[in-house]
Symmetry: C2
Subunit: 422 residues, 2 copies
Amino acid sequence: MNEYCLAVYRIYDDKADFHKKAEGIAVGLTVGSWTDLPEARKEEMQKHLGRVVSVDIYDEAGTERYADIAIAYPDVNFSRDIPALLVTVFGKLSMDGKVKLMDLKFSQRFMSAFNGPKFGLPGVRKLLGVQDRPLLMSIFKSVIGHDLEALQEQFYQQALGGVDLIKDDEILFENPLTPIERRVEACMKAARLAEQETGQKLLYAVNLTGPTSNLAAQAKKAIDAGANALLFNVLAYGFDTLHELASNPEISVPIAAHPAMAGAMYPSPHYGISAKVLLGKLMRLAGADLVLFPSPYGSVVMPKDENLAIREVLLTEDVPNNYLFSLSAVPSAELHLKPSVPVPSAGIHPGLVPWIIRDFGTDVVVNAGGGVHGHPMGAAAGGRAFRQAIDAVLSSMTLTTYAEQPQNAELAAAIQAWGVKQ
Amino acid sequence: MNEYCLAVYRIYDDKADFHKKAEGIAVGLTVGSWTDLPEARKEEMQKHLGRVVSVDIYDEAGTERYADIAIAYPDVNFSRDIPALLVTVFGKLSMDGKVKLMDLKFSQRFMSAFNGPKFGLPGVRKLLGVQDRPLLMSIFKSVIGHDLEALQEQFYQQALGGVDLIKDDEILFENPLTPIERRVEACMKAARLAEQETGQKLLYAVNLTGPTSNLAAQAKKAIDAGANALLFNVLAYGFDTLHELASNPEISVPIAAHPAMAGAMYPSPHYGISAKVLLGKLMRLAGADLVLFPSPYGSVVMPKDENLAIREVLLTEDVPNNYLFSLSAVPSAELHLKPSVPVPSAGIHPGLVPWIIRDFGTDVVVNAGGGVHGHPMGAAAGGRAFRQAIDAVLSSMTLTTYAEQPQNAELAAAIQAWGVKQ
């Protein structure tokens, strides 16, 4: 039986016949030619032929003319891996004028090759023993050129503030001062010391870098040294490499996907791949347990609707959802992938926590760098201020009121430094 | 001693202080902060600090305000691999407003980890025994759903026309009808049969696909079956994977890099990575022996200046060229990488050959799909028409004059079908 993966494109063109263009894509990227084929051959080739599902034309005075075109690609045409899918639906087409890949839907059969996140939201919550509140992540700052002792101290200060996760700087690579296994040992020791103070578990996402063929070994080295999470610059290596790492049973810790390089592909209205696909669907399909993406609040911004679209496909939708061109099959339950944890990042301070929870709900990681390290009373106080802000929102109190309580002096200081977003 | 890799960005902003912005990048993407550091620490950290090399501001009425900003990054900050370099210079920055990575230059030390193309232009010419003329490549058409016999016949017809290289369709993946080793056997048999007719050697670039960790094994399987070249969708896997394949001594055949997905990154003026870097410098650095890219002639077009910039960095410049921030070191000869062969593709018919040679010189592959298969007298005649067009140009004759000779009927028919570009 035919099953199809669906691609939705936005194509800008002042005068193209969009229906003809859609037909050209559906045929050109599958069987190559159709009308020239003898009838007998057409019957055989039917199962390889792409189909135009819809063509919605937007042609209004004063705006650029475009169409949203949905094409269904028979999944028998490609192997069940992300490179094959992307090369099919957006390999050559990406270079053919103003065209952006807006959405992807996967057939049940294609999805059968993917397990998605090994931990996902429920697994990460379980590891941390935190069920009901947003998680809090802190980011190492200015670590290039620092030694193990300095890293350990910075880690300890962040951990003391009650954060749930600490992530490496994504630009910290293998180096003689802080090689991955030594970094893990030093930081996990600091985590244990802090836990004695705070009573709280902590995941340290150590940056997984180096040659592609050595990543799995490098991950195992880190895990053997005590690493309980990994950070990975997915787009610098390709989704298939994430998929292979996430599928590897020996990599027994959550993977946090960093969006480095994503800005080369999602922001243009005319070219590239939508943030929802790039940082949402494909990350979840490939197995990212947590996904970082630019928040709508900070200096590195992404429009809020794109943020919420990412959140939806990571978390709540039955995503990557099955698209069945025929109606004779129903997605089976075991194909459902665990949700990935959304991590809107950049420009986050405690005064934004009510907005984060309003926009993203409580199944979110509040992720802060400067908002922790730049706290007037230090990094430990920075973490506490965020935890207090989260407590305030969950208690349905305003930050300002909550900060008046003497035990919440750190939140008060944060509000004084950065204000409360109104 | 400090060595630096250089990144040049084009940043659009109506009113930014570009000098301040450049300083922010140089510090933010290296040591993180600078002015706050104690003097003693500054001395230690000096070697990790990024430097602003130049800021050229373009601010003219009626055009968008932008600046070209060059930043030098100390190569001690990252490991000697392309993911580390790209994540450093364009990881987070790619998401920070309208910014495009325009150029990259590599330090001698960074380049020491790269051997570049194993064959390159001289190696490919030697394998084919063709020194003095442009090479001719033909592309399989409409091969999805076809069996080995059909492929073999199509291959044979193309080969009879005197083409030097035949490439798989980049959307042909592992499939039960034509698995890679059977495809290679069938096509190489056709190549030998054709060689008995034409006396000419031929490279078949078979499409290397599937899971990342299996690519090397898959390549070896193809080579064991007789493959004498590979086609690879580099951007679907990442440059590091190409680098690893090209560095693998067991992969003893040239690799042709396909530009699938490149259109997600190079065409926007505001975002992404320039074609020169994406399809030029990084491809050569990573070891592509041949590089396909959209020609300036066909339907999938790229502006001619971008085409020529790719050509230059693949072929003639001492590229990827060393950038030394200090003047105390001179590039050593052994770091020079072999040139990669430029393959401008799409929309090529024999009437364009004079333009291709005028624009690209003779160190180029003339690459045709429809221009071979769509020839009124068939694919073998299509190849011959191209070879005749090449001969005409090298004999300093016009195509029309050359086509008047009775032995060049194929060229005459091609001209009748597609014309001669004036």
